[in-house]
Amino acid sequence: MRRISAKLLVCVVAATFGCKKEQGSGAAGAGANGPIVIGEVGSMTGTEATFGTSSDRGIQLATKEVNTAGGIKGRQLQVIALDDQGKPEEAATATTRLIASEHVTALLGEVASTRSLFMAPKAQQAKVPMVSPSSTNEKVTAVGDYIFRACFIDPFQGYVMAKFATGTLHLKKAAVLRDVRNDYSVGLAKVFSENFAKLGGQIVDNESYSSGDVDFKAQLTNIKATAPEALYVPGYYTDVGLIARQAREVGLTIPLLGGDGWDSEKLYEIGGAALEGSYFSNHYSVDDPSPRIQEFVGKFKKEFGGQVPDSLAAQAYDAAGMLYDAMKRANDLSGPAIRDALAQTKGYKGVTGDITMDEKRNPVKPAVVLKVGKGGKYEFSGRVQPEGLAETNPAEMPRATPDTQQPKKTEGNTAPNAAPGSMPTPTTTPPVGGSVSPAQTAAVTGQPQGVPSGEHPKR
């Protein structure tokens, strides 16, 4: 009994203390001299465990660098990372906990779009800036003006692969196998199909599966009957590994094409030789000779015992770096001030490319295409620039045809970037403040997949 009351006392004290800190939550940074608390949500376990653990390492590295250099505004950074086991509900719970009881200044996460979409409304409501390292679904940043990302968006990724398939591989017929339970997969499949058709190709079959399935032979047998030259599988690595194996089992020998959800050392562990000769779009390549990338790879290997950073680690490193950069530039550490500074990010020298925020809080930057080679090694196969962005690398293979294209940045939305110190008024984009339900979000983005046709990087 005594114990219990002692515990209670501790709880009460903690609660009072918590209340005091709460004044700062979302507004002025918590506590004047303590560390600045950053919340991280990731899938450290579960079928997408490497997404969370890789991202966590990238964030750790970025945080350590800032702390070694003296922190931000004279204060050290402290990252509280919570595991969501790859479950959207857990991601939402973790976010609530980080905001309500840890009083985080900003949030980093999630990797998967589905889970970021569960986090974003909570961050938006509490006015806590959130930067997703790798959620590529368009809907994520459409939730509200406090939600940012450090990666390109699905329409671009789908476009990259369509461009690569038609331009570099000279393919005419492709089939699509998408994960119907995953916003990311559905989004990529849709944009790939549209662009592939637009670029002169033909989608001969469109099949689906649900993440977690283990038997894909029925769909693959159907696909085989339509004789495509490539199969686009924009899923996550565990499923893709199994799909690749079973594709070879039913006698499909064509290359598989995919997106950044493939990026994990587990991909090859599960899929093995069946994956060799397949391609996927990604954020960066460790083989890229650019000094910025090689420096990062070196630092990362040194920090984590020789581990090679996958693109999720690089993205998370950039997301954290971008956030910290904005926090340094911000007038103070309140949510709105950091938000404004993030929105003004221009030419931030990230590992995955120069990051400039467009008015929808999405970075404009190039993508790379990697080939799965012998023994699971990724070979750099090309780089695809967003349309309207100046080429920076003369060596790249496929590129957007320069004619008739519209600079992507000026599309649709004419709201200017936030003026310093004031809240922006993006009248044509997502609702600002208040709670944004998923339904509203869907209404804002217009289509269930969140891929309004007017915003494709189209020709």
């Binding site: 376990t45 465990a49 977690g212 038997d215 032979k217 079973q246 587990k266």
Partner: protein, 302 residues
């Protein structure tokens, strides 16, 4: 048409595995009138122990051999048999006199224990594991249909085990005792049948079948994880009910129907519908024949 036969082969191969798991449900139900919900997780344990044994001891992945595969299978059979025995001995036996609902809830508890205990012990990440030295891509062609040796093995082993089971139940002393207990436990006890031993034997036998199913499943799909028992377990349960729970041939038939239905629905309708349609078939059959396809009311069990 070739595609159609291809779907049939894949469906039969999947159905054979469901049938093996379903046998465990059906035997326990036959003897105890208890649905052992932990059975799907014993199946998972078969796969996971196999993965563990092969990655720790036989280095199966690096040096695949039939002998190693046999060793791994035996280890996982023994582990599952022991688990089945312990679950019955310490979970269900103390509750045998209480209402059936108590045992049912205990079964669900054991199911969670195995699933989440498995996550703690083995880690929650999916692992690549194929127990056998043959890959599903090793195959031969029969009239244009690709049949992998793994499929052949799945079907062959399942059929062999079912025939053996049939012989045990109908042509051995223990089988006779099982049928006697299923008929009426108290009368069987009066006639000198050691009920505890018979029931333990039933659980061990079911768990052995689940272990074999686990190894075959891993060989066919090459991915194992602690929550993998959930869906196959549920489907095998459905298969057992479909065929008439308590009836061994029924479980085999139910497994095949379910495997085929799944394959055909996902190939000709949509994979999103496969479970919905497979389970609708169950409802329809139970509406027409409440005791299942081969069930005979309450008359003969096991």
């Amino acid at each position: 048409m070739t595609d159609f036969f291809q779907h049939i082969v894949d469906g039969v191969s999947l159905g054979a595995i469901y049938a093996l798991i379903a046998l465990g449900y059906t035997m326990v139900y036959g003897v105890l009138q208890l649905i052992n919900f932990a059975h799907g997780d014993v199946f998972m344990l078969g796969s996971m122990i196999g993965w563990y044994a092969s990655s720790r001891w036989t280095q199966e992945a690096a040096h695949p051999s039939w002998l190693g595969a046999l060793g791994v299978t035996l280890v996982s059979i023994m582990a599952c048999a022991a688990t089945g025995f312990f679950i019955e001995r310490f979970g269900y036996r103390p509750l045998r006199a209480s209402p059936k609902l108590n045992s049912l809830i205990t079964a669900i508890g054991f199911s969670f224990l195995l699933e989440y205990g498995g996550q703690v012990v083995f880690g929650p990440n999916p692992r690549a594991f194929g127990a056998l030295p043959i890959d599903p891509s090793d195959q031969f062609r029969l009239l244009g249909v690709a049949i992998s040796y793994v499929d052949v093995l799945c079907i062959g082993v399942s059929v062999a085990l079912m025939v053996t089971l049939q012989r045990i139940i109908f042509h051995s002393r223990m089988g006779t005792a099982m049928r006697a207990v299923s008929w009426n436990p108290s009368v069987a006890a009066l006639m000198g049948v050691n009920i505890d031993r018979v029931i333990s034997f039933t659980f061990v036998l079911g768990s052995v079948l689940a272990a074999v199913a686990g190894i075959l499943y891993a060989s066919a799909f090459r991915k194992v994880e602690p929550l993998m028992g959930l869906m196959p377990g549920l489907k095998a349960f459905v298969a057992a009910v479909l065929g008439g729970i308590g009836n061994v041939q029924g479980a085999m038939l139910g497994g095949l129907i379910l495997g085929l239905a799944e394959q055909l629905v996902s190939s000709y309708v949509s994979s999103s519908w496969k479970d919905a349609i497979a389970f609708s078939i169950l409802i329809l059959i139970l509406l027409v024949k409440p005791s299942g396809l081969l069930g005979k009311g309450t008359a003969e069990k096991v």
